[in-house]
Subunit: 204 residues, 2 copies
């Protein structure tokens, strides 16, 4: 693996790049401003480096399914596309309100019906946002249920805002929910609820 | 656009390639055999060509969000990865039983928790399989609700079988469901139910 490839894995993917449209830049600037007084915080995001992965998870992976070559190729699904083609997003969180907001621009490789975002691509960003919400406010957990209502299709290459919150914690169960809106908040694209189960302490 | 790129879009992605592991090949052969007497049928699958797309959908897309350059880049989400890195899958359907089976191998770019398939990647293939089931047996429709129970995480690079069926049609509502199992059927990874709404005849 070349140094440049390693460098690619160390790059924070949650900051503006040339593929971000004006809506995404504007919202990013607005939330960055909200971070100044500490009420909101920005979340960095990486592809996850294969070198780290092999070292840390070699004994954890199932060699029956994965060869060492495949292990070295693994990338976080939501960061596995080249710039601008897939998932472009950034998350911010508010500790007092137990909320995570994701600003998401879905690129041309995420198409479902012609001209629209694939329902699975939206489910992926919804799951990623809800998982982040649970991780920050609840702890290490796995998705147990994901229930999404699709109200309107999202135009491809447009920006949506995913507003999530931690609703309730009951023992190891974390209940979270979110909605997906247009930038002007006039269009409600989706609503989702989800249940995550915290891993037993021995596994974390 | 070069001829070779056009050719890439005409290639059937649902037939074996060097990235398919032995489980996926074996299952493909078994279902291909079931196709001989006509009880099961194989479904071809393409990336969708940009040339066709621009011609057919130019007036349909929102120019505010998509530039012509982006339109020419669109690819079906589930076929947008290079061979072996993302979604490798093939579907077969049984007309009498109103069932669609999807054989799915999730590559190293679909990682969620280290060593496991991202929940959103599984949701994507579940949605794609259920949508196909509705399209074949019900008609053109959009996902209105998707409800997934995740029971066990799927090891990355392993093969799973998604068994879907059309449960009920009520006017424009199509109810479908599926389960996701290991190749030996000993592990139940997920179960899902979904509601699709058929488009009004004027839109199809």
């Amino acid at each position: 693996r070349s140094f440049s490839s390693e460098e690619g894995f160390l790059k924070d993917c949650s900051v503006p790049n040339p593929s971000w449209n004006k809506d995404l830049r504007l919202l990013f600037d607005q939330f960055t401003k909200k971070c100044e007084n500490g009420s909101w915080k920005h979340l960095s995001s990486y592809k996850r480096g294969p070198a780290t992965r092999i070292k840390d998870f070699k004994n954890f992976l199932d060699p029956e399914h994965m060869k060492e070559e495949q292990m070295s190729q693994t990338q976080l699904f939501t960061r596995s596309f080249d710039e601008g083609l897939g998932f472009e997003y950034v998350m911010f969180y508010n500790e007092v309100e137990k909320r995570v907001v994701c600003l998401f621009q879905g690129g041309p490789y995420l198409e479902g019906a012609p001209g629209f975002l694939h329902g699975g691509a939206l489910a992926t960003m919804v799951d990623a946002t809800l998982a982040t919400c649970v991780m920050i406010f609840g702890g290490v957990a796995m998705t147990a249920n994901l229930n999404i209502n699709y109200k309107r299709p999202v135009p491809l290459c447009s920006v949506v805002v995913i507003n999530s919150q931690l609703d309730k914690v009951e023992g190891r169960k974390c209940f979270v929910s979110c909605n997906v809106q247009s930038v002007d908040e006039k269009t409600l694209y989706s609503e989702a609820t989800s249940l995550f189960i915290k891993l037993k302490p021995s596994l974390t």
